[in-house]
Every structure is written in structure tokens, then in C-alpha cells.
């Protein structure tokens, strides 16, 4: 299962599909302050990214990445890696 949930942390692994929102959303409602760890998350559907942004979830593992996870940082901005 790509999402492991416990009280203080949700661990996202691999690709998180839109259908996983059905699991993640209730968990975020119950644990609004707990962290969502995306360190091992390789990709996510727009709906998942939107959910994390909308609920203001505390995201761990996004800072300093060079891929899509940049959207989960405060600027919601993505800079493509420069191809020299």
C-alpha cells in the first residue's frame, strides 16, 4: 500500500493515485496537524497535491527536491532543472 497512516504521520510511497484521496482526506481531517511524509513519493495525481495544499497539511520531505514535490513547498512553484 502506497499510503501508511498512523496518528502522527502519513507516509506516501510510490505513486499516489486520485482514488487514494478517499483514504488521505479523512485522515487529514482527523489529524490536521500531523505530517505527511513525501520523501519516498515518486508521483501524485493533481487531486492529491491539491488536497495537501487545500488542507494546509504539514508536508515533510518536499523541501530541497528538484521534482514535482517543489509544488508542496511554500511558493507552490516548480523550477525545471536546467539542462545545461
Amino acid at each position: 500500500m502506497p499510503i501508511s497512516l498512523n496518528d502522527d504521520c502519513a507516509l506516501l510511497e510510490g505513486y499516489i493515485d486520485i482514488t487514494d484521496v478517499d483514504i488521505l482526506h479523512p485522515w487529514l481531517q482527523q489529524n490536521p496537524t500531523s505530517a505527511v511524509d513525501v520523501s519516498d513519493c515518486t508521483g501524485a495525481h493533481t487531486a492529491v497535491v491539491q488536497l495537501l495544499i487545500a488542507t494546509g497539511a504539514t508536508v515533510a520531505g518536499a523541501e530541497g527536491t528538484e521534482d514535482w514535490r517543489q509544488y508542496l513547498t511554500s511558493g507552490r512553484e516548480y523550477y525545471a532543472k536546467e539542462n545545461a
Binding site: I18, Q29, H45, T46, V49, I53, R76, E77, Y78, Y79
Partner: protein, 756 residues
């Protein structure tokens, strides 16, 4: 040929067949929506499949045909005979091309020119203005006119103009299978992007995570074409602006034409964005983004926008801004140039896709397409099995001489019966596979009748009866040609023109009817017309004139018999040669084709009323039961269905009339053929009792004098090959159970030999 190409050829042929049929039906009833759909679908499918290969002329032509049909389907162009003509021509052309593809995996060199001409004619019929001609977006944004770098986009390591894309997906995007962030991330030349959140998020509890609330801004270095292609699925949800970093920006000044055109286009796209029915909250950020774009457009063309954006009613402000900008951007001398694409697509009023709840049964897997060669191979094997089983009676005979108890003989006979039954069932099962309905060929002739009647100015209806009648595929296929000739003859020589018909109190429209039905082990095909019939006296006169019969014979003929003379070679009742039925393919050719198939043909005609030609053919060409006769030292086979009776007669009972010998059997005078003479075997004088096999050829009985009768066998008659094929008195060879070869007699030829 590779499997895909073979599949394409076979499939396309079927589709062309279906399309032709639909087309002809449409001519009867141009309003038949189902047929139009069917036709369109067939052509559409051919086109789709053709595109997989490098047959450009084919694809191009069918494409034009498809476009034409599309407009017909939409009701923009009426379906007329002219349209039908060109479409039929297109289908014919496709048949040709498919033949070429099959033969050489390529089209002939002339194909391109032919295809071009044909597509032009097809397209000429699509006269509704504007169709196919998507108004070209005025090449608005030349590379060098770009808006200044917007404030909300960070400085990026790019040089020259890049494109800023604002992507505002519909709230329901997820329900169309969209994953907008994926679309953004896979944008070609993506440099930077940002998720734009709505001003306010609903609380976590109120949030519907399956509705989309965010939008995107992104900068790409890809060309406009690449971006258009990338965002093609969501083209109404994106706007583009060419932007350039401050250093590269062109000097401010008068609005040059390129900039003006681009600004105008931006304005139009913003209008369309506002017009699309976006529900809130998407509406909010949609409006906001429009406002930003407008402000930037104004800035670029140095126009002051007033009033300030009203936060409570941004739409009202935007409308005012639009008006200001619209006026400022109007072209100096307004040209009658078509505006960029219509902004608001009206909900299409036509009924939704015909809802057919009575779904046709799934066709998939109900049919297996097998090449007829494979079936033939199977059939031959079954035939050989039947023949091989014929060896068992021989075996039983031999066993009888050694086996005293008779146990072995009984066993062999029992096994023979079992194998006999199984092989017969096997054979009939395979025959069933080979059986195809006559409709496979009969429906084709619609076209022939139509074309000929149009050409000759005759009005003709073609009626088919019993098209479900089945017969062996080989027979059905072979029948096509004789039927074509018969139909042509009927149209050309039989049916009168409408005026003549009316003058003789007949309906204007002539009728050609083809009837098929099964009669015992034969399939019967009748071609009837209600034309002027055949003049028997004319036929007789012509036959006499050409020396095909003598007066003596004619005197003894009934009128129906005399009519059969039309099947004699060299007799044509019409003096001039029509370019339609042509010379050389007369009734004699038809008759010989039918006979070659082991069939018979007869004609019946009533002057002024019409003509009926009846062809009777075996249901299958495969295994036949043969009577064996011995002549000289050879064994010969005679198809059992030709044999009337076998008799022993005294040589003294033979009567002589001129050079002919005859015998009276049951009050019938039967001409005799001495087979030994025919085969140049020495006479056996001392024989007082002669064996006569009476055979029926086209209703005429003849007696063959043979040496000995043998029992019947089942055999497959194979056509003669090699040197033997020139001997016309044999129809083929058959392999017997003991390995010997049996020659099958061609009775017609033998009887003819006797007379000439």
C-alpha cells in the same frame, strides 16, 4: 504479405461490399439514416485502417469520401444520384487499389493522379461554405512582438521570447480523466510553473477533493505549435502570451501591427474564457486571470484602463476594460476578415447520438476468418478419407478367400460401416463450412443493374428472392459470372425502354428477378425478366442460317426445344453487338460455364412477356457418386445423377437410321453410342448381348454401349491437368480405393462427338 496488410485487404473488401449495398439502398430511400450511418462507418473504417499503410492516394480519396458523407449525414448536402455515382466510383477505385495492394503490396504509379482527381470531385460536392476550411488564425504573434515580463513570474534563465501559459482547468477536470498537473509537468520546454490557489479554501470538512480548485501558470520555451499540440485536449482552458524579459523587450511606441493583432487575439481568447460556463470557485480565478491579462495588454499597447478593478464585481470592470481595449485595438481600415473562431459554441441542438438500447449482439468472435484454401485442404482430406475407405470392400473380398470362418470379413465390413458413417459426417460438416448464402453474390448485382439502366435509359428494378439459399462457396463464386451475363442480356436485349413498355401496356419499370432455391441436392437459380421475350422463329432461322442444325431436326423439335438452340455456340439473336453485353459472351458461353460446374441450363420465353433462364447446379462440387463402366480394358466413371438406367439389350434389337443406331426402351427411341468405337478399341463382334447405360444430358437420353457395368463409388473428381486436359471427353480424374485412376466421362462432349 504481412498479416496486418492481409487483414486490411480482407476487411476493406468486406467494408466496400457493405458500403456499396448501403449506397444502393440509399438511392431507394435517401432518408434512411441507418444506411447513411452504415455507409459512413464503412468508409470511415476503411480510411482509418488505410492510414496505417503508405497508400496515400487510397487514404486521400477515402478521406474525401468520408468528409462528403459526413456533410450528408449532417444534412448539409443532400444525397443525390450524382453523389451516389461519385461515391460508387470511389468504391470501385478502392476495389482496384486493393487488388493492386494484394498483388504487389503497392499501388500503381497512376494511383496518385487518379486519387487526386477523384478526391477533388468528391470534395467539389461538399459545397457548404467553410466546411473543412478552418479559419486560419491570423498569424498573429510574430516572434518579435512580445509582452513585457509579468510581475508574478520570477526571473528565469531564458533568452528571447518564451510563452506564458495560463491553464485554468474545469472544476470537473478529474471526471474527464484529466490529471492537470501531469499535463503541466509534461509540457514541452517547461521552464517554470506555479500552482495558483483560490483566494480562499473551503475548510477541510467542506472540501470536495474531487473538484478542481487550482489553476496553473507556466513558462515554456517550446514553440507555439508544440504547445498547441500539447494542450490540444484542453485548448479552451489555456491562454498563451508571448513574454520577453525586460532586457529584451522592444522599445515602446506606436502600436505596431503585429502587437496589435496579438493583443486583439488575446482579447478574443479572454472573452471566450469568460464565456465558458465555469462554475465558482473556478469562475473567480478565471475572472482574476482575465483581469491580469487585460491589464498587461493595456500596458503593452500603452492604453490607460479605467476604472480601477472593482473587487466586488470584477466582471463589470472587465466588460468596461474590454470595450476600451476593443476600441483602441480596432484596425485602422477595417477589413472584412473573418473574426477568429466563433467564441461561444452553441449547445448542439440535434438529438443526442441515436440511443439504441437494443444493442446489436456482439459480433466479436462469432466468426472465424479462415482462408478458403485451408477449408479446401480439409475438404480434400475428407474426400480422400472417403475414397480410402472404398478400399475396405476390396479388402473384405480378399479376406474372403483366406478367411474360412468369415469372422475377419464380418469385422472388416463392420469397420467399413463405421468409417463410412464417420467420413460422411465429416464430409458434410466440412461442406457446411463451405456453404455460403447466395446473397454474397446476388447483392452485388444491384450495382450492375443500376449502372446499366442509367446508361441505357431503361428503368429497372432488381428483385432478389431466396438470397439466403446456401450452396458451396466454389459454386456460388463461379456462378457470379454466368449471372452477370444473364442479367446483362436481360437488360440489354430483353427489357424495353420505358416508352416502348408503356406503349405495350406494361409498367414503365421493368423487372429483373433472380430467384435462388434448393431442390433436392441441387441449387436452382432463375433469372427472369418481364421484357420482350425471345422470338423462337428468329432463333430457328438463325440456327439454320449458320448451319447449326438441319431442317430435319428442327421439324422434330418442340418450340421449347428450339429455344434451347440459343445455347449453341455461334448463335446470337441480336445482330448488332452492344458495348454492354459485348460480343463473345453469348448464351453459349454462359451455358458452357454452367456445364463446367456440372450444372444444366434451360430457357423458357414467351414473346412479349419475358424470359426465364433456369440454372441447376450441384450444391457442392466435392464428392460425387460415380457409376463405373468398363470399356476396352479401362474403367470409366459416369456421375450417377446422369444415369437413367442400365440395361442389357440384344444386338438384334438395334435399329439403324441413316448412320445412327437406336434402340427402343420402354417406348422411347434412344440413340446409341458405341463407346468402343469412340475410344478406338477393337470391336468385339461375337457379343450378342450388349450393356447399355442410358444417360440423360440436358433432358436428352442417350445409350452408351459399354463392356461391363461395375458398382458405384464415391470419388472426388479433380479437373484434368497436363496433356490429358485437352481431351474434352473426360471431365476429370478420380483416385480409387485400390489406388487406380478412374477417368470421369464428359457425357455432353461424348454425345456431341457422336453427332458431329
Amino acid at each position: 504479405m504481412n498479416a496486418l496488410l492481409a487483414q486490411f485487404v480482407a476487411e476493406s473488401r468486406d467494408l466496400i461490399e457493405a458500403a456499396s449495398k448501403a449506397l444502393l439502398d440509399l438511392e431507394q430511400n435517401a432518408q434512411d439514416k441507418e444506411q447513411i450511418d452504415q455507409l459512413f462507418r464503412a468508409v470511415h473504417t476503411i480510411k482509418g485502417a488505410a492510414g496505417l499503410f503508405e497508400f496515400t492516394p487510397l487514404t486521400k480519396t477515402v478521406h474525401a469520401g468520408e468528409d462528403l458523407l459526413d456533410t450528408i449525414r449532417a444534412g448539409d448536402v443532400p444525397f443525390t444520384s450524382d453523389v451516389a455515382d461519385v461515391l460508387l466510383e470511389m468504391l470501385d477505385r478502392c476495389v482496384d487499389w486493393l487488388d493492386q495492394v494484394e498483388a504487389q503490396e503497392a499501388l500503381n504509379e497512376d494511383a496518385a493522379a487518379i486519387g487526386d482527381a477523384l478526391s477533388q470531385r468528391l470534395r467539389a460536392l461538399i459545397d457548404a461554405p467553410g466546411i473543412g476550411a478552418i479559419p486560419e488564425l491570423s498569424d498573429a504573434a510574430p516572434e518579435d512582438t512580445a509582452l513585457p515580463w509579468p510581475d508574478d513570474v520570477p526571473a528565469l534563465p531564458v533568452s528571447g521570447a518564451v510563452t506564458l501559459v495560463t491553464y485554468t482547468p474545469s472544476v470537473n477536470a478529474f471526471f474527464s480523466g484529466d490529471d492537470p498537473l501531469r499535463t503541466v509537468q509534461s509540457t514541452p520546454g517547461l521552464v517554470w510553473s506555479r500552482i495558483v490557489s483560490p483566494k480562499e479554501w473551503p475548510t477541510s470538512d467542506d472540501l470536495d477533493p474531487f473538484l478542481l480548485h487550482i489553476s496553473f501558470r507556466l513558462v515554456s520555451s517550446a514553440s507555439q505549435d508544440e504547445l498547441d499540440a500539447h494542450f490540444a485536449y484542453v485548448s479552451d482552458e489555456v491562454t498563451y502570451e508571448a513574454i520577453v524579459s525586460a532586457g529584451d523587450a522592444p522599445a515602446e511606441g506606436a502600436i505596431d501591427e503585429g502587437l496589435r493583432a496579438m493583443a486583439e487575439q488575446l482579447l478574443v481568447s479572454q472573452r471566450s474564457l469568460l464565456a465558458s460556463d465555469q462554475a465558482s470557485p473556478a469562475e473567480d480565478h478565471c475572472t482574476a486571470s482575465v483581469a491580469v491579462v487585460l491589464q498587461r495588454v493595456a500596458q503593452a499597447v500603452s492604453i490607460e484602463l479605467s476604472p480601477e478593478l472593482d473587487a466586488d464585481n470584477p466582471r463589470a470592470t472587465i466588460d468596461q476594460w474590454m470595450a476600451i481595449l476593443g476600441a483602441a485595438l480596432r484596425k485602422p481600415e477595417p477589413k472584412a476578415v473573418a473574426a477568429p473562431p466563433a467564441v461561444v459554441e452553441e449547445e448542439q441542438a440535434d438529438e443526442p447520438e441515436t440511443i439504441k438500447q437494443t444493442a446489436s449482439p456482439a459480433r466479436a468472435n462469432s466468426h472465424l476468418r479462415v482462408s478458403s484454401e485451408r477449408i479446401d485442404a480439409l475438404m480434400n482430406l475428407a474426400g480422400e478419407l472417403i475414397v480410402a475407405k472404398n478400399a475396405m470392400p476390396f479388402l473384405a473380398q480378399r479376406a474372403e478367400t483366406m478367411d474360412e470362418t468369415g469372422e475377419l470379413v464380418r469385422e472388416i465390413k463392420a469397420q467399413h460401416n463405421t468409417i463410412n458413417r464417420i467420413s460422411e459426417e465429416l464430409q458434410s460438416a466440412i461442406m457446411q463450412i463451405r456453404m455460403v448464402p447466395m446473397s454474397t453474390i446476388l447483392s452485388r448485382f444491384n450495382r450492375l443493374v443500376r449502372d446499366m439502366s442509367r446508361k441505357l435509359g431503361k428503368e429497372i428494378q432488381y428483385v432478389v428472392e431466396g438470397e439466403d439459399t446456401e450452396a458451396d462457396k466454389a459454386i456460388v463464386d463461379e456462378l457470379a459470372e454466368p449471372i452477370v451475363h444473364l442479367i446483362r442480356n436481360s437488360i440489354d436485349h430483353g427489357l424495353e425502354d420505358p416508352v416502348t413498355r408503356e406503349a405495350s401496356d406494361k409498367p414503365r419499370v421493368g423487372t429483373i428477378q433472380v430467384k435462388a432455391y434448393q431442390l433436392e441436392e441441387s441449387v436452382v437459380l432463375e433469372v427472369l425478366d418481364d421484357g420482350k421475350g425471345i422470338d423462337v422463329d428468329g432463333v430457328i432461322a438463325k440456327a439454320l442460317e449458320r448451319g447449326l442444325v438441319d431442317q430435319d431436326k428442327v421439324n422434330n423439335m418442340t418450340r421449347t426445344d428450339a429455344l434451347q438452340l440459343v445455347f449453341l455456340p455461334g448463335l446470337s439473336t441480336k445482330n448488332e453487338v452492344s458495348d454492354l453485353s459485348g460480343r463473345g459472351v453469348g448464351m453459349d458461353a454462359v451455358a458452357s460455364m454452367v456445364r463446367r460446374l456440372g450444372g444444366s441450363i434451360s430457357i423458357f420465353s414467351e414473346k412479349g412477356r419475358g424470359t426465364k433462364i433456369t440454372m441447376k447446379l450441384p450444391l457442392s462440387m466435392a464428392v460425387q457418386r460415380l457409376m463405373m463402366v468398363e470399356i476396352g480394358d479401362g474403367l470409366y466413371g459416369v456421375p450417377i445423377d446422369r444415369v437413367v438406367e442400365s440395361q442389357k439389350i440384344k444386338s438384334s434389337s438395334i435399329r439403324r437410321h441413316r448412320n445412327a443406331e437406336m434402340v427402343v426402351l420402354r417406348d422411347r427411341l434412344i440413340p446409341l453410342v458405341r463407346m468402343r468405337n469412340l475410344f478406338a478399341c477393337p470391336d468385339v463382334e461375337d457379343n450378342d448381348i450388349l450393356s447399355v447405360m442410358v444417360v440423360d444430358v440436358d433432358g436428352r437420353e442417350s445409350g452408351l454401349i459399354v463392356d461391363k457395368f461395375h458398382p458405384g463409388v464415391d470419388a472426388i473428381i479433380k479437373p484434368m491437368t497436363g496433356v490429358l486436359s485437352s481431351y474434352q471427353c473426360y471431365s476429370g480424374t478420380a483416385l480409387l480405393g485400390d489406388g487406380s485412376i478412374l477417368l470421369a466421362l464428359n457425357l455432353r462432349e461424348i454425345i456431341e462427338c457422336q453427332y458431329h
